[in-house]
């Protein structure tokens, strides 16, 4: 009996093991046989979708059937990823960890290009763009957004953006501000904002802040102040070193401190929520709860898209725009970013993946995306198109701002530096640290990230 039991036990183990092993081989055989039988090539396209951003999903759903018809045997598998920008970034980084999950084509924020190239996630596109006749249509700034330090191309720009101040005209008028509103320096800005606060008692001036807002806290927030304090306030281009200990950084933090302590900005419990932009651009700017807000050139796409959650056709009459002034006046402050399309470094079908990319960015589709998504054109031919120029009322204003724009430092360390800046705004917003303490903590964080030899005191 005993020996029988042992045999039973042993064979059960053996069966289990054999089962597991054969299970593995069977599934992989299956996968290859499906591929070879149909002789199909599948291209996985991963991109971001959320409440405020459905335009790319629209575009890809239009491109997919067109591309598949032109390229028989190639199947496009759309993989929309729902979430915030930072959720998307995390998920994408994890997908890059294994060739079986890495997308063939993906939507990529330009500020992550350099660090993801260093991580080996992006395919070098030099050979492909050299054979692409439409590549010359892209302007130099846009080409630079997808290059590494040596000038090799890794990502193709889908458009750029700029940032300014949107304000509710009736609310400012009520507060006794002369329209069109344009503060010329920080003092004027603060004086006007206090006057608005007196009048409405609500949020007079919104700037994004804190860890919850992520990259938005620096792009549509802190950097709009910092880049108005002098040349190269974050990264010294001449020496290639990160700036620490600067007066401009402390002044910008002090401006934040004033805005939050005097309750000119949003209440902290709202500002700490990474989804506050949905309220700001939804109900608040319409009903005057927010009188003015820093935001990006893409915002009109949300108000203008019929049937969307943010639809507000009256915005063209109700909203005015102003540029962000520099600290002492005399220049316009804005920042540009933008998103790109890139190919996964391990893609098995680079030719087809690149063909999909060029299809999505051809004249017709680029125009559609620029218009739907309120992007600033990076294709010089499309920029001349009447449909682009009249896409929304503010296109000329924001396009003009690009001439005085700043780009984030294109280094692989930037994403982590940005987190340190977000932390500084978070500490100021909550009143956890004084300006001096937050600036000192930032300086230390920068040294920890890039090393003592890569910082410069200003």
């Amino acid at each position: 009996m005993k020996s029988k039991k042992t045999i039973l036990g042993a064979s059960a183990v053996a069966l289990l093991l054999v089962g597991a092993v054969s299970g593995c081989t069977a599934s992989s055989e299956e996968a290859t046989s499906v591929n070879s039988e149909a002789e199909q090539k599948t291209i996985k396209v991963s991109y971001l979708v959320n409440d405020g951003f459905k335009q790319l999903d629209d575009l890809f759903n239009k491109v997919k059937p067109e591309f598949e018809e032109k390229n028989p045997g190639v199947v496009v598998e759309l993989d929309p990823i729902t979430g915030t920008d930072s959720d998307y970034t995390t998920k994408l980084s994890l997908m890059h960890q294994d060739p079986s999950t890495q997308p063939d084509v993906f939507y990529q924020d330009s500020f992550l290009v350099r660090s993801d190239v260093a991580a080996g996630y992006l395919l070098n596109l030099d050979q492909y763009v050299s054979e692409w006749d439409e590549w010359d249509m892209f302007d130099e700034g846009a080409k630079g957004a997808g290059q590494d330090a040596s000038g090799s191309v890794y990502a193709i720009s889908m458009g750029t953006d700029s940032r300014g101040i949107y304000y509710n005209k009736p609310v400012l008028e009520e507060a006794g501000i002369d329209l069109p509103w344009q503060p010329e320096n920080w003092d004027e800005l603060m004086a006007d904002v206090r006057q608005i606060k007196e009048s409405t008692g609500e949020i007079a001036f919104n700037t994004y802040s804190g860890n919850g807002a992520g990259e938005g806290a620096v792009m549509q927030g802190f950097f709009m102040f910092l880049y108005g304090t002098g040349e190269d306030p974050l990264f010294d281009n001449a020496s290639g070193k990160w700036v620490i200990g600067s007066q401009g950084f402390r002044d910008s933090l002090a401006a934040y401190e004033t805005l939050f302590q005097e309750e000119l900005a949003a209440p902290v419990e709202e500002a700490a929520d990474g989804n506050m932009w949905q309220k700001v651009l939804g109900p608040w700017i319409k009903d005057g709860t927010v009188a003015a807000t820093i935001d990006g050139s893409w915002v009109p796409r949300m108000w203008g898209s019929a049937g969307g959650d943010f639809e507000w056709p009256e915005y063209e009459d109700e909203i005015g725009v102003a540029y962000m002034p520099s600290q002492d006046g005399g220049s316009k402050v804005t920042l540009s970013g933008g998103w790109t399309l890139a190919l996964g470094s391990e893609t098995e079908h680079p030719e087809e993946a690149f063909a999909f990319l060029t299809e999505a960015l051809n004249y017709e589709n680029a125009l559609k995306f620029y218009v739907d998504n309120a992007q600033i054109a990076v294709r010089s031919d499309v920029a001349q198109d009447e449909a682009y120029q009249s896409a929304n009322k503010f296109v000329p204003f924001f396009t003009d701002l690009v001439s005085s724009t700043n780009f984030r430092p294109a280094t692989e360390d930037y994403p982590r530096i940005s987190i340190a800046v977000q932390q500084a705004t978070d500490d100021i917003m909550f009143g956890n640290k004084t300006v001096e303490e937050a600036a000192a903590a930032y300086d230390q964080a920068v040294i920890d990230i890039v090393g003592e030899e890569n910082v410069i005191r200003k």
Binding site: K2, T6, G9, A10, A12, V13, L16, S86, T90, S93, L94, L112, S115, D116, A118, A119, G120, Y121, G210, N211, G212, V268, E269, A272, G274, E412, D413, P415, R416, I419, D426, D427, M429, F430, N432
Partner: protein
């Protein structure tokens, strides 16, 4: 002969041993290894990570956010598991012995619902309940109390209460089973001797079910130590780190800051804390067992 026989006897546990090694020990060893490197989600270190020894652990010692996360984890475990779920589960189980069927049924349905629902659903329900425009504030408003931004003003209280709701069913079931083992004669004898109900509880019931209490405490402590979804969904560890327990802290460092190595080091420390708790509870269990023998 005996050793061969023993070997044969132990053969059937080989698969489970292999499974445990693969799925339990494997990830732990891997986390330990990663925590000694500068592995990152992006940048050069993602492709070519370096062995950096104990640097991540030294960073942790100097990181003011780390003791904060440890403290909040202790508050969370003690508040929601050891005090909340455990005590509530015990009293519900005792109450159920004398409650009417209707009360017993409705109460246990309410308690069990939170246990049966997926954690993410419970987390969203709790988020909506505690939200500034949420159910709790609507109720308060109808009673004439000004609404409070719970998740902002008292994030720890909110997640502790949510976790009590989520996990009490487990303790309830453990104690219902344990109380069934309390012999009827002893209860009766105590009653005849004139024991008050609190005397009965502390001098009769609790000593008899002591082993169940220890086992229950160990299980819910370990479960609560690793709660992530509930906290992350409700507060994301905020505002400004005020509800960042260790799992959320590890996630933030690994996936938001992209520093996988540091995140792994925090996970290893979490494992150590779990081991310490387990050893304490196991000791308690063992000494109790010895006495019985």
């Amino acid at each position: 002969m005996i050793s061969t026989r023993n070997l044969k006897r132990r053969l059937p546990i080989l698969p489970s041993f292999l499974m445990l090694a693969l799925f339990m020990a494997g990830p732990i060893v891997w986390a330990l290894y990663i925590s000694l490197t500068n592995t990152s989600l992006t940048g050069t270190a993602a492709q070519d990570s370096q062995f950096i020894g104990l640097d991540n652990y030294l960073t942790m010692l100097g990181d003011p956010d780390f003791p904060n996360a440890v403290w909040l984890t202790v508050v969370f475990v003690v508040g929601s598991a050891i005090i909340g779920q455990n005590t509530l589960g015990l009293f519900l189980a005792i109450g159920f012995r004398s409650a009417s069927k209707a009360i017993k049924k409705t109460t246990s349905a309410l308690v069990m619902a939170a246990w049966m629902l997926p954690e993410i659903v419970v987390a969203f329900a709790a988020y909506v309940f505690f939200n500034t425009d949420g159910t709790l504030n609507q109720i308060l408003l109808s009673l004439g109390v000004d609404p409070i931004a719970w998740l902002f003003e008292a994030p720890m209280l909110a997640i502790v209460l949510a976790n009590i709701w989520r996990g009490t069913a487990f303790s309830l079931l453990v104690y219902m089973a344990a109380l069934d083992d309390v012999p009827e004669e002893i209860t009766e004898a105590a009653r005849i001797d004139g024991a008050s109900s609190s005397q009965h509880l502390f001098l009769v019931t609790l000593p008899i079910i002591k082993n169940s209490i220890n086992t229950n405490l160990m299980l819910i402590t370990l479960q609560t130590l690793s709660v992530f979804t509930l906290v992350y969904t409700m507060t994301r560890g905020g505002p400004s780190g005020k509800s960042t327990t260790l799992p959320v802290f590890a996630y933030d460092q690994a996936f938001r800051v992209a520093d996988i190595g540091y995140g792994a080091a925090i996970s290893v420390v979490m494992i150590l804390i779990g081991v310490i708790f387990s050893v304490i509870y196991l000791r308690l269990l063992r000494s109790e067992g010895d006495k019985n023998e």
